[in-house]
Structures are given as C-alpha cells and as structure tokens.
C-alpha cells in the first residue's frame, strides 16, 4: 500500500489554499507538501489556523481557493469520506472514537471501512476473522492489546488517542493527518506514541499538527510555521529553529 513516486515528487500536496469565514481570513495562500517516509510538522501559535488548514486537507472544509493534490490528481472537490477511502486519514483534536463499542470493535470497524460496501446483513461482525485478526494486529502494534475488550468510552484520554491512531492505521492509509495527537498525554504516553510514529514513518506520509516542541523536533523531517493563516517559514527543523522571524513570532514563547 505504501509507495514512493518514481520522480520523488510529493504524494500529497496543497497549493495556494485560501479560506475565509466572514471577515476572518483564516487561511492565506497556504502551500505545503508531504512525502512518504517523511513527517512534516505544522506548528504555530494558537489561532494561527492549523486546524482549519487540516480540515481543508482532510476534506471536511472546502477551501475558497487553491487546490489539493494526491498521487498527481486534483482531489480538491472530494469530500472527507472519499478521501479517507483513498488513503488520506485524519485524527481529531477532540478525541473521537465510538464510545460504546469496545476498543477492538473500534479498530475492527476501521478495518471494515476498507471494504467497498457494507451491505452484509447476516454474519456477526464480532466473529468475522477478516475483521478481528487485522484489528488485533494493529492493537498490538500500538500497544493496546490489554485493553481490547474495554468499552472505548472508559479509556483514559491518552489511551483514546492511541486508539485513534490505531483506527487510522487499520485503514491502511498512505497519508496521515494528525491533529495534536499528543495533547493531554502524559510523558510516558507521549513517548509511546512518538516511538510508534517513528516506526510507521517509512511507509506513510505524515502531516503532524503539534504544540509539543520536543515531539516536533524529534520526529519531523520538515517543519512549517503557520502564523495568522499564512506560512511564515518552512524548512528543516534546524533551519526553522534558527529563523529569526520564527523566533520572534513564536518560538521565543515556547520552551525549547
């Protein structure tokens, strides 16, 4: 399912995105790209428009102008479900899992989503090995096997985050759009998740919206800084860290 393009071009790319909400110009001429085997981090102060940008990349919001490209095709008009079906999967800033399903069933549903249709009325999904076996493999990969039977709503915040990542992985995506996955996690949980992301990086193109600078500088191959909806700087972590404008606008307030 993973692939790198022969000419080394980006598999997922946004060009010149604009989005307005009434008088608020939330996204200004935003262009960025992600390649397979790469983590591209998107950072910026609160209210910079990172979540809005992510929503447009995922297909939840339609940009007013600009285009989004995947594997060389223009997917700007595709809604979220269609993008997800093609391998572009996002996680949410506010944890969103199916609270009443078990952890395993959450992941099993993610596995199920790969199927072309769901008009199967007879066989119990709980006993369907084509769903439960991949689910259990992913749970192991993420480290949630012990919690497989628990009701998802009963998990801690950090565990729910892990579950979200598991669900994203279960859909065998190419592009992962992660919206502040470390938010609200303990040091240990953050550590587990970072290790996991490092492990899956070679096969995926990951766009990471994140506040936690330690995580960003550990995982990212490329960093883009968003301020007031527009890209202030973009480059390797070292370049961005050293950029004076970025320091002035943003990094000085964060502990480095």
């Amino acid at each position: 399912m993973s692939c790198t393009r022969a000419n080394g071009g980006a598999i997922f790319e946004a060009r010149g995105l604009h989005k307005r909400f009434g008088g608020l110009h939330a996204t200004r001429d935003l262009s960025l790209s992600v390649e397979v085997g790469q983590v591209h981090a998107l950072i910026g102060p609160n209210g910079a428009g990172k979540t809005t940008a992510l929503a447009q990349l995922a297909g939840q919001l339609r940009p007013d102008a600009g285009t989004i490209w995947y594997r060389g095709r223009d997917i700007t008009a595709l809604p979220m479900a269609a993008r997800a079906a093609r391998g572009i999967v996002r996680t949410f800033q506010i944890t969103a899992v199916f609270e009443e399903f078990s952890v395993r069933d959450n992941v099993a549903l993610a596995v199920q989503s790969r199927a072309r249709h769901h008009f199967a009325f007879w066989r119990p999904a709980a006993k369907d090995r084509r769903l439960t076996e991949p689910a259990e493999r992913v749970l192991e990969q993420v480290g949630l096997t012990a919690l497989a039977n628990l009701r998802a709503g009963d998990l801690s915040h950090g565990q729910k985050r892990q579950l979200e990542i598991a669900m994203a992985l279960a859909t065998e995506p190419t592009v992962l759009l992660l919206d502040e996955p470390m938010a609200g996690m303990s040091r240990a949980e953050s550590e587990t998740l970072s290790t996991l992301l490092e492990r899956i990086k070679p096969a995926h193109a990951i766009l990471l919206v994140e506040h936690d600078m330690d995580v960003v500088f550990r995982l990212a191959d490329r960093v883009s800084v968003l301020v007031g909806g527009a890209l202030l700087a973009s480059g390797s972590p070292q370049e961005v860290r050293a950029d004076a404008r970025v320091r002035a606008a943003y990094l000085d307030e964060e502990a480095l």
Binding site: A82, A84, V89, F98, L109, Q112, S113, A125, M167
Partner: protein, 324 residues
C-alpha cells in the same frame, strides 16, 4: 457484550408465556385473551421495527404510522375488491391470499419509506422528526379522502386473509401466525444488528463525523435500515387489518406514531426485545387499569412520566441493570 442473566431469563419467560397464551385462554375459558394478545404482538412488531432505526440509528421517526396504515389499507383494499369481485387495476380483482397481500403490503410501505427516507435522512434531530411527521400526515389526509374505501369512517373487511389455504379466521391460528412472524423478525433483526451493516448503523449514531473520517458515508445504509423498518411496519399493519377486520385513517394519525414511540421508550430503546416488553406492558396496563376505573388514562399518564424520569432505558433497561 454478554446479556445479563436476569434479563435473559425474563425474556425467555416472556416468550414462553406468549407461546402459551392460546392454551391458557382455552383453560381459563377466556377466548378474548387471544385476540387481545394478538393485538399486542402486532404492536410489538411495529415497535421492534421502529426500534431498529430509532434505537440503533437514532432516526427518531414520528411518521411510522404512515407505513402502518399503508400496510393495513393494502390488505383492506385487496380484500374488499376480492370479496366483492370488483376490478382493482388491469382487470385484477384483488386477493385475499396472505402470501400475496402481505408481501405487497411490505412492498408498498417499503417504497414509501424509500421516498420518505431519501428526503428526510438528509436532516437530523427535530427537523427529521417534523419531516417524517409531515410525510405521515400526507398519507393520513390521502386516506381520509378515499371515500370509496370508507374515508373518515374507515373500511370494514369481509373477513381475514387465508395463509396458503389456511383460513386465519380461527383466532388461535392467527395468533401463532403473528407470534411466528414476530419471532422471525426478532431473530432476523438481531442478526442484522450484529452484522457489518449493523455496525455501520450503530457507528453512525454514536459519531457520524468519525464514521465519515473512516471513509464510510452512512447515508445509503441508514436509508436501507429505514426502508426495512418501514416494510416491517407495513407487515404489522397488514396483520392489524386482519386482527380487527377493520381499517380506518386513525392508523395513519400522528398519535399512532406517538404510540409506537411510547412503546419503544417504555420497553427499552435500542434493545429490539425491549419494545415487546413495552407493547405488553402498555396492553396490560390498559386492561388492568380499565378494570379499576374508566378514567384509567389519568393513572397511565403519570406512570409514563415516572418511567421517563426514573427508568432510563425503560423496562428492559431496568431489568438489565438489576442483573448487576
């Protein structure tokens, strides 16, 4: 998730009791019991059909009476034409055979459910409730205007259908036909709910956005569930037409939709078996309270209020919780 032992035991007892109603009626020399419980089974079937969409998909329909009435009137009209040998369409004079009339009733209600669902399922919440209500009102007013089929006064049937040659005039045969159908529907829906299809429906209720983020657009699955629900409600309507040998526009009234809703809520939403408890409880309460006073609704009303306030999940919900 495993079913709590006490709830499972209660359900087995309930179904056993229902299976034994006719012999009990004969023993106690109270034949009216059979017709009474047939009615309860029919309402249970309609409520179970509603629970499929309401409990599992959170499609709160205030218009299921439309499907109920369509099913009932299909049987009524076919029977009337057959008994009087009047041509209905293309020279066909209708039919009194259940194996023809009942599937046709389901088809017609199912088709209307398709129409209603296509338009309504784009909305949600209170707007969905109102649009489904509006669609039911359309049927209500259409039926009232059908003066050749009784209009406001309703249509009396000349007799019950025959089921593959077996006349259903015999209350006990009819009772077991209803009971058998209810059991079959319960079993089929239970499988449906546990299937991949069922998972999508339940997920669409719990977190619609999340489901879309997984790449699944729930619309056609919810529509399918709605059509199934409508068709099964139509079947209940067909059975009711046989039970009372009478159909009238009140079958399509919004109070009737409200009745179904109340039965589901009273019995326990989202459990499939809950509405069976609900239908029986409502029936029993009506009969018991009527014996006490002719003003029984003055007691039933507050009882429903108490259930709403203190018994989350209705009767079956309380049973499940009491198992610990």
């Amino acid at each position: 998730m495993p079913k709590p032992p006490r709830a499972r035991f209660a359900t087995v007892m309930l179904l056993l009791l229902l299976a034994l109603i006719p012999p009990l009626a004969v023993l106690t020399e109270n034949p009216f019991l059979v017709t009474m419980f047939s009615r309860a089974l029919i309402f249970a079937l309609a409520a179970v059909a509603l629970d499929l969409v309401m409990g599992y998909g959170r499609m709160v329909s205030f218009g299921h009476a439309a499907f109920f009435a369509l099913g009932a009137y299909t049987v009524g009209i076919l029977s009337t034409h057959a008994m009087q040998d009047l041509p209905l369409a293309f020279g066909w004079t209708g039919s009194n055979e259940a194996l023809l009339a009942w599937p046709l009733a389901m088809l017609i209600s199912g088709l209307y459910a398709l129409l209603v669902g296509l338009i309504s399922l784009r909305t949600s919440g209170v707007y969905f409730i109102m649009i489904t209500l509006a669609f039911a009102q359309l049927i209500y007013f259409i039926v009232i205007s059908l003066s050749q089929y009784g209009g406001q006064d309703g249509l009396a049937l000349w007799g019950r259908n025959t089921l593959a040659g077996v006349a259903l005039e015999d209350p006990i045969s009819f009772y077991y036909a209803c009971f058998g159908l209810l059991l079959a529907v319960l079993y089929l829906l239970r499988r449906l709910v546990g299937s991949r299809f069922g998972r999508v429906i339940e997920a669409s209720r719990q977190n619609d956005v999340r489901l879309r983020a997984l790449g699944i657009d729930p619309f056609r699955y919810r529509l399918t569930a709605f059509v199934i629900s409508g068709a099964l409600t139509g079947l209940a309507g067909a059975l009711l037409a046989n039970n009372s040998e009478f159909v009238d526009p009140t079958l399509a009234s919004w109070m009737q939709s409200g009745n179904f809703l109340v039965i589901v809520l009273l019995g326990g939403i989202g459990s499939l078996i809950g509405p069976v408890y609900g239908a029986l409880a409502l029936l029993l309460m009506e009969e018991l309270l009527i014996a006490l006073t002719e003003h029984w609704q003055i007691i039933l009303g507050p009882l429903l209020i108490l259930v709403a306030l203190f018994f989350r999940g209705g009767i079956y919900g309380a049973l499940r919780r009491s198992s610990g």
